[in-house]
Structure formats: structure tokens, C-alpha cells
């Protein structure tokens, strides 16, 4: 054991404005004007330089065998950190000390050439990623087997289907054996079965004593793969610690007042959705719920002319878009699909307490007529989050349950002797 990565006061500054599509002529002109004391033709002076700190004084340490997840919003500095780790760009200040051989995967299939055969591309790609020839030779059969390419190995990859191409590319990457592995979200490749296989392979890598640095938007895979996480916000580390705690903090930060959605009615339409909101048991609109609170989704709509049926529905999705369930008002009352009179209506549905797994959810809402012709729909109308106020899994320290729902079902146990 011991430290294998030490990030010390790492900062990266990107200049904006100065680095644009200027030509050689422009720069000569600027230089000439500066020398002759004339003002800059582009109206910029040295002190006016604007830029952004993509990373500001970032420090953390990683022990051998740890799996660190890097999370944060877009623009938080995740990619910049990854690029510095991969030595694609140099930091502005600070340093990273590394013990051991590093391989970084920002993309699968880097350097693949369509004219070359699968076999040739394995050697090229493997070498680009830092593998020795002998290493590739040793693992060659394993890579081919993993990719499921089989007899097409000597066919130029331009004749491959996109699925085969990605499988081959990932197979090479998966057989890298560095001491430290830096991975971007390259897991979302291929068909579902292959994704599964990749995740399993990643887990193998991670549990094999190797150190892994993983950057992803997918909290599910971060939660599954990493034991510790670093949360970045505008270039600074705002949290570092056990994955579940850091993800929780990230979730809290990501919730912005989207508990109510108001739609401008269109009088020409036979029906309009007016309002959608998430309300708590006191009837107050809010985006934060405890696991032990019911969540009510309330929809207000109007019918402008007599119609044959009018119904509203919602679909609950996780923050990354996985559908949890769908429900509509006619599920419980088929009369909604019969003739409806003009007027303003309000429908609400209650998601019971102790049902949703803590996390972030979004709600898709829609309104449709009796022939299921959707008059209006909004995918990301509402967002709310459920905090862990004591799920069964949380009683055992670090939560290992990863399901979307956490209902409490009755169990019956009896002695058999």
C-alpha cells in the first residue's frame, strides 16, 4: 500500500479571446503596432486578457488499489483533470506525482485505421496505448476472443459493422494492464450484453489491486465501480470521500427549482396542460423529499371543446433517463377515455412513502385524447430528489443496493422444524 498518485495544487488556466482564429498577418500587425506605440487594432491590451481557471488549486491523494470516481457538472473541470493526467495538456501550476505505469482511455479505438485489418489495428492501437509488442502478442488470442470478432480478424475494419468495430476497440483497451488506469465514460458502447461484459471486465480490473480513476456522468456506474469520489465544482474540489456521500452532495447541488412547470395555454388546441408540480404532504410545492415522505404529482389542464376522452399521464425517470414507471389517470378510471366536457381540471397522483430509492428523478408529463393522440408532452418537466432518511440498506453503513425502487414488502418467516 501507499500513495500512488499525489495531485498537488493543480491549476489550469485557459486563455479566452486571445487564442482565436487569428492569422499570421494579424499577429504581425499587433506586434508592429505595439513596437511603434500605436494601439492594438483589436482593442486588446495585455492586462485585459480574460480567461478561465478550469482547475483551481486541486489537491488529493490516491492510495494503491483505490477506485476514485471524478464527478461534477459539465464544465466543472473533469475533462481538464483527465487531460492533464493523460499528459495531453500541461497544467498551468501545480503538479501530479505518479508511481507506476499509467494508461488512459479517453476514447476506444484511438488510431484505428479503416484500411488495416483487425489484427493490424490491434497492434497499432495497443502500441499507441503504451503496450509492448510482446504484451500484445501474449494477449492477442484473449483480445480476439473477448471482441467476438472471430474469423473477421484479417478483414479490414472498414468492412466491420459499427458494433464489431467498437467491440474490437474495447477489447484492446480492456486488456491493458497498467498499474494505474484512467478512464473516461467509454463504457457506454456496444449493445447491452457487451456493455455488461465491459462493466464486468472493468470490475475485474478494479478489484485486481490496480488503481482506477474513473470519470463519468453516470452515477450508477460510479457507485458501482468506485470506493471513493471527488466532486468538482467550477474547477475546485468541493467534496471528497466515500462514493455514496459525495454522490449525495452532488445530487443536492444539482437540484434547482424545477418543482413547478407552467405552460402558456394555446386556445386553439382542444386541450391544454396548464401546470405541473411536485408537492409534499402539506400541499407545498418543493423539490426535496425524504424517503419517508409521499411525493404528489399534480397536473392542471383545460379542455376547450367537448372531446372524446382526455387523459393525462406521467413517466418517472431517473436523472440519467432510465424509466422507473409510467402511470396515467385512466389506469384507475376508464371513464376518462369517454366523452369529456370543457372546463379546467386538476389531477394528482401520490407516489407512496418508502417506495422510491433515494436519488434524483425527473418527470415526463403529457396530455392526450381518447385515441391516444398526444396533444402536448414535456420530457423534463419536473425534477425532484429523494433523500435517504433511512432506507433499509442504509442501516448497514455504505449502501450497496442499487435498485431504482426501495419498497418495503412484508416478509414472512417461519421455523421449519
Amino acid at each position: 500500500m501507499g500513495k500512488v498518485i499525489s495531485v498537488e495544487h493543480l491549476s489550469k488556466y485557459y486563455r479566452l479571446g486571445l487564442v482565436d482564429r487569428r492569422t499570421f498577418r494579424d499577429d504581425i500587425l499587433v506586434l508592429w503596432n505595439r513596437m511603434t506605440g500605436k494601439p492594438d487594432p483589436y482593442g486588446r491590451t495585455q492586462s485585459e486578457e480574460t480567461g478561465i481557471w478550469a482547475l483551481k488549486d486541486v489537491s488529493f491523494e490516491v492510495e494503491q488499489g483505490e477506485r476514485i470516481g471524478i464527478i461534477g457538472f459539465n464544465g466543472a473541470g473533469k475533462s481538464t483533470l483527465l487531460k492533464i493526467f493523460s499528459r495531453i495538456t500541461a497544467p498551468t501550476a501545480g503538479q501530479i506525482k505518479i508511481k507506476g505505469k499509467v494508461a488512459s482511455l479517453l476514447e476506444v479505438g484511438t488510431g484505428f485505421h479503416p484500411e488495416l485489418t483487425g489484427r493490424e489495428n490491434i497492434y497499432l492501437n495497443g502500441t499507441i496505448l503504451g503496450m509492448k509488442r510482446s504484451e500484445i502478442e501474449k494477449k492477442f488470442d484473449e483480445i480476439v476472443a473477448f471482441s467476438e470478432i472471430g474469423k473477421f480478424i484479417d478483414t479490414p475494419v472498414k468492412r466491420y459493422s459499427s458494433g464489431m468495430y467498437v467491440r474490437l476497440a474495447f477489447a484492446v483497451a480492456a486488456h491493458l494492464e497498467p498499474e494505474i488506469l484512467v478512464v473516461d465514460e467509454v463504457l457506454a458502447v456496444g449493445d447491452f450484453a457487451f456493455q455488461r461484459k465491459c462493466l464486468d471486465k472493468m470490475e475485474d480490473v478494479a478489484t485486481g489491486g490496480r488503481t482506477v480513476l474513473f470519470v463519468s456522468h453516470n452515477m450508477g456506474s460510479i457507485n458501482r465501480l468506485c470506493n471513493r469520489a471527488v466532486l468538482l465544482r467550477q474547477g475546485e474540489v468541493t467534496a471528497i470521500g466515500p462514493t455514496a456521500a459525495v454522490i449525495n452532495k452532488y445530487m443536492k447541488e444539482s437540484i434547482a427549482g424545477e418543482a413547478q412547470y407552467i405552460q402558456e395555454p394555446d386556445p386553439a388546441k382542444p386541450m391544454n396542460l396548464l401546470e405541473a408540480s411536485v408537492v409534499n404532504q402539506e400541499g407545498v410545492v418543493g423539490a426535496q423529499f425524504g424517503y419517508d415522505e409521499p411525493v404528489t404529482i399534480r397536473l392542471k389542464y383545460e379542455i376547450n371543446q367537448p372531446v372524446r376522452g382526455c387523459y393525462v399521464g406521467i413517466e418517472l425517470l431517473t436523472s440519467i433517463g432510465v424509466s422507473v414507471f409510467t402511470t396515467a389517470d385512466h389506469d384507475a378510471d376508464v371513464s376518462m377515455l369517454e366523452d369529456r366536457q370543457p372546463g379546467v381540471y386538476e389531477s394528482e397522483v401520490v407516489i407512496p412513502r418508502e417506495f422510491l430509492m433515494p436519488g434524483e428523478f425527473m418527470v415526463r408529463v403529457w396530455i392526450a385524447d381518447g385515441f391516444a393522440v398526444v396533444a402536448y408532452e414535456r420530457v423534463d418537466a419536473l425534477r425532484f430528489s429523494v433523500m435517504d432518511t433511512g432506507t433499509p440498506g442504509s442501516h448497514f453503513g455504505q449502501d450497496s443496493r442499487r435498485s431504482l425502487l426501495q419498497p418495503i414488502f412484508p416478509w414472512r418467516t417461519k421455523g421449519l422444524d
Binding site: 501507499g2 500513495k3 499525489s6 485557459y14 486563455r15 487564442v19 482564429r21 487569428r22 492569422t23 499570421f24 498577418r25 499577429d27 487531460k83 492533464i84 493526467f85 493523460s86 499528459r87 495531453i88 495538456t89 500541461a90 497544467p91 498551468t92 501550476a93 501545480g94 503538479q95 501530479i96 506525482k97 505518479i98 508511481k99 507506476g100 505505469k101 499509467v102 488512459s104 479517453l106 476514447e107 484511438t110 488510431g111 485505421h113 484500411e115 488495416l116 493490424e120 497492434y123 497499432l124 502500441t127 499507441i128 496505448l129 503504451g130 509492448k132 509488442r133 479490414p156
Partner: protein, 302 residues
């Protein structure tokens, strides 16, 4: 166990004797803002020699797959170029050739000049053309220009065999050609032409990342150089008062020495050759250092 192979020792043992001495850590690598300009990392480049070879193979295979003439592309262009030159410069404009068979004269000139111009043009857009792959993975960037030069050297080998073939033919039909020991300078001349092209190519490559219009100047510039280099005329034919400028052109000595060694005619001037040799290595060094210093921040500018 600490890895003692190529570690950088950090972890200062600071403080007084009262304190526990800090654990000494050995790091395999340290990523810092800017490396010292003189760190060329040649050892690392050597470790990646396999990659250079694979790049050569990749470009070679992809360039000649699915072409009608295939490898004949190596053979035809130099012959056609020499024939065209013989016709236009020799028969239409009637430029003198120091008494040598025009065909061989032009072939020798373009052979050496093309090594320079191709090394220059092929390496002048390395950053631009590889921005995508450079943005995804690290490997010593110098592998790409090196591979480009090596690919052209395959071409050079074929052309050289052709040249020798024609040389033997012309001697056998009784042309006045006297190859001499200076022909053994060939490897040095090759190296000089490559350096002369690679150095400026690396400099331009680093600059085209910032100024896109510079890339278009490269081909134009090399065409201009053709006119002020004795490629299709001998240096002996240049008016005396202009000769000094032609001698200042470092490519001149390479071509004239090559002609002198293989054909027995041309200007052999050791001072000129030494000057050219020095310039070619100065170009190369400036190019390599410049390229290395741009490498780590190049991606921030595109």
C-alpha cells in the same frame, strides 16, 4: 518495495529532529506545468520505436491499397519527372547540363531536392492533421514526423536503385560519366537533406497550430526554393556575381556534391559542404526543441 529504477525523489525530510522523518516516496513520473526546454525525452522516444514502425506500416499500406498501379507508384513519378525535364529544360529551353546526359542530370537534381522538400512538406502539418489523436492519448509526438520521414525514405530507396540503373546504362553506351569516391558521401548527404526539411517542417508544424494560413505557404515556399537551387541547371552556369547567394542556399551544396560524386561533374566545395552540414543540424535542433516545447500546450490553442 520501492521502484528504484528511474525515480524522482521527493518528500523532503524537513523539520527538526523531534519530528518523525517523512516517508521517502519514489515516483515514476511527475507531471509539471512546463518541462525544461532541453528535455527531449529521447529515451522515451526510443521506447516507442515500435510505434514509429507501425505508423510507417499504416501509412504505407493505406496509401497503396486499392490503387490500380500499386507499388508502381514508386517507380513511375521519378522517371516521368526526369523525362519531362529532359524534354522541356533540355530540348525546349536548352539549359546546359555540364556536359552530362540531361536525363541523369535532372534525375540527380530532383532526387536530392525532393528528399528535402518532401521531408519539409510532409512534416509541416503534423499537429494539424493529428489534432484528434493527440487529443485522446499521449505518446511521444515526435514519432509522427519521424514516421513521415521514414515513409519517404522507402521511396528514396526505390528511386536510388532506378538512378543507379540509368547510370549504369548511360555508362555502358559510352557517356562521359566518372563516379568517384565522393559518392560514398551519400548517407551524409541524405541525412543533411532530411534535416534540412525536417527542421523547418517541425517549426512550421508548431506554428500552423496557431496560424492556419502558414500551412499554405509551405508548398509555395518550396517551389520558390527550387528556382534558387541548382536543380535543373548547374551551379557552374550561375553568373559569377550571383554565385555567392546560391552558395548561401544550404541545399545547393548537397545537390552539387551528389552530382560530383556520382556523375563526376559539379562543384565540390568543402567549405560550402561544411556550411551546409552545420546549417542542416542547426535547423534540426531548433525544430526539435521548438516542437517539444509546443507539444504540451498545443491542444489549448486549437
Amino acid at each position: 518495495m520501492h521502484n528504484l529504477q528511474k525515480g524522482v525523489m521527493t518528500g523532503k525530510n524537513e523539520g527538526t529532529t523531534q519530528e518523525q522523518p517523512q516517508e521517502v516516496q519514489w515516483w515514476t513520473s511527475v507531471i509539471t506545468p512546463r518541462e525544461k526546454w532541453y528535455h527531449l525525452r529521447l529515451k522515451e522516444l526510443w521506447e516507442y520505436r515500435q510505434l514509429v514502425w507501425l505508423f510507417v506500416r499504416r501509412d504505407f499500406v493505406s496509401a497503396y491499397k486499392q490503387t490500380i498501379l500499386g507499388y508502381f507508384w514508386f517507380v513511375f513519378p521519378p522517371i516521368l519527372a526526369a523525362l519531362a525535364s529532359t524534354f522541356f529544360y533540355g530540348n525546349v529551353i536548352s539549359l546546359p547540363t555540364d556536359g552530362l546526359p540531361p536525363f541523369l542530370f535532372y534525375m540527380s537534381g530532383t532526387f536530392m531536392f525532393n528528399i528535402f522538400s518532401n521531408s519539409f512538406i510532409n512534416t509541416s502539418n503534423v499537429f494539424g492533421q493529428n489534432a484528434n489523436i493527440f487529443g485522446k492519448v499521449y505518446f511521444p509526438r515526435l514519432t509522427i514526423p519521424l514516421a513521415r520521414v521514414l515513409i519517404y525514405l522507402i521511396n528514396v530507396a526505390v528511386q536510388f536503385v532506378l538512378f543507379i540503373g540509368f547510370l549504369v546504362y548511360f555508362i555502358s553506351i559510352g557517356a562521359d560519366i566518372q563516379p568517384n569516391v565522393w559518392a560514398f558521401m551519400l548517407p551524409v548527404l541524405l541525412l543533411m537533406s532530411v534535416n534540412m526539411g525536417l527542421g523547418p517542417g517541425l517549426i512550421t508544424s508548431a506554428m500552423t497550430a496557431r496560424y492556419r494560413d502558414l500551412g499554405q505557404l509551405v508548398a509555395f515556399f518550396t517551389t520558390l526554393v527550387t528556382y534558387v537551387t541548382p536543380v535543373v541547371y548547374p551551379l557552374s552556369n550561375v553568373p559569377e556575381h550571383l554565385k555567392i547567394y546560391f552558395k548561401l542556399n544550404p541545399v545547393t551544396a548537397i545537390i552539387e556534391t551528389f552530382r560530383y560524386g556520382f556523375l563526376g561533374q559539379g562543384v565540390l566545395d568543402l567549405g560550402m559542404l561544411a556550411y551546409s552540414f552545420t546549417v542542416s543540424f542547426v535547423f534540426l535542433l531548433i525544430g526539435v526543441f521548438w516542437f517539444r516545447s509546443m507539444e504540451s500546450t498545443f491542444l489549448d490553442t486549437v
